[in-house]
Amino acid sequence: MSLLSVRDLTVKFAMRDQTVTALNQISFDVRRGERLGIVGESGAGKSITGFALMNLLSQPGYIDSGHVMFGGEDIVRFSDAQMRRIRGNRMAMIFQDPMVTLNPVLTIGQQMVETLRAHRKLSRAEAEQISILKLREVYIPSPEERLEQYPHELSGGMRQRIVIAIALLLDPELIIADEPTTALDVTIQADIMDLLLELCQSNKVGLILITHDLGVVSQMTERTLVMYAGRIIEAGPTRQIINDPQHPYTQGLINALPQQTLPGHRLKQIPGNMPSPAALPAGCPFHPRCDFAVDICRRVRPEIMRFAEVEIACHEVSRLHGIPYKEESA
């Protein structure tokens, strides 16, 4: 049974004059200990997915429909108090910028002890012992002293390690990492990713890695979702998606990587911008930027379909697989 099972999750934002659909019928699964990557451009709905899984969308966003089954229970229907017992405890989240995710006025120790004691009945001394163990797990030198320090006394890489240690404090079953290395130096990025990979593997923790970096996804994850304009357009084993992308958008993303271009040549890019979720084009949301777009792409929104191990939402791919265009699903 999968650890996390998301079905037809739809998230909307109630703006003043209209309701915008930010996530449209997202479905995916994460098995226990599995690492899943979610990639896409800015505004594709990656981060909103993370917050929706935590049931922490802030106003004016809300979960309109769908289910998030976590450990067999539908947490969309959980009360805030029930949800609080899951957050941090069974499901943890790591954010982009460790400079701002730690509370600047509390010491590292205070933040770790507080987190532990919010979920477990522990004495201060016991909580400190666990904190020291966890800091050691993320290779923080002399952890006893770090407990006394404030976040501003530590470097960015060190802080992100501490953020990871806090996420792991209560031995969660799932970690959602939202661009965990974007704000860090390139050299430290690799360290942090290796650490995250190692910890997830050794503790059998599920990981949802939200990123726009395909290189990171290919190293870190077993399965990948590609999102575009609030929908999943391609999903499957990471190796297959990186080596043999089917959807024209995924192909564009991979061709845009610098490694794919000869030195001295212009980088390939996908023309245009992602449409705003408030003004999606009719038909396939990607068609204005797609080289393969035909008449039907402008009229009918493609459904996601399974082809062997991969799921793809594209008329052209369906046609190549011998499935005729479906006119009625408009």
């Binding site: 935590m54 922490l56 106003q59 108090a81 949800m83 609080r84 017992r85 899951i86 957050r87 941090g88 405890n89 943890a92 989240m93 954010f95 982009q96 910028d97 701002v100 995710t101 730690l102 509370n103 600047p104 006025v105 509390l106 507080e114 987190t115 919010a118 979920h119 002399s142 006893e144 002293e145 006394e148 320090q149 953020v163 806090i166």
Partner: protein, 315 residues
Amino acid sequence: MSSLSTNEIPASRWSRIWNSKMGHSFRGNPVAVVSLAIFLVIAFGAIFAPLIAPFDPYDPGQIDIMNSEYPPIWIEGADPQFLFGTDDQGRDLWSTILYGTRLSLMIGLCAVALQAVLGISIGLLAGYIGGRLDSLLMRLADIQLSFSTLMVAIIFLAVTQAMFGSETFNQYAIYFLIAVIGVAEWPQYARTVRATVLAEKKKEYVDSARVLGFGPMRIMVRHILPNSLSPIFVISTVQVANAIISEASLSFLGLGMPPSQPSLGSLISSGFDYIFSGSWWITAIPGVVLVVLVLVINLLGDWMRDVLNPKLYKG
């Protein structure tokens, strides 16, 4: 490095403050140093008034009407046992000022504490929860602010004075003053705190606190509030000065501390009747003390505002 930080932490709280950004700025600012020194002298005098004052102005047994209206000792015709002279009832002005400053400071601080408790809780709730509650609380604050503090206080104190009779009123005057000054000025705090909370709650450490499963109470009190302290400090100094002035004004108008237990304001007021008969010191000396006290508090507040300016501080 390791032994350094572990050994120093318990002993060095004071030196950490001294060497902090605020400490440096403080030492580099003579106005702040002098203001704090004067404030500490006044506060010391106020706190230890019973030990310092040569007479007890509350004890009628020590007051002799025959001693009334002696001038301060540097003026001819003074009695050397009365440093600043005596008032119309023969009380030693020096002792009375010490006791009066004590009352004024106490009322000022307690009123501000009450304002802070009310204002900070309301501001936190309004800012963090937002929505309808925010609109409701902020409209209440607007309504409250549309009455002048003094007007509210005068009406309230006049009514209570009439209700309880002046004897009971005089007995509890200090509590009434604290309550009315405290309640009348909470919107100052509430608005400042709300504005800071609105800015703070968008920061990612609040998201990460929510993600860790903390409840709204804990996030408000333990995470957002400590990050909103700078403007609270600044506003507190200004509010203490304001509260002392409000108290003095009310006492001057006869709605505050009774003449038998004078604060600085009622002392100024009681001397006012004699100012034209030549006994200027009964009004002037407490007046100077009041002005100096309020001035140094405001100067300290100005300095603090400069230091805690978020643009300079958080960068």
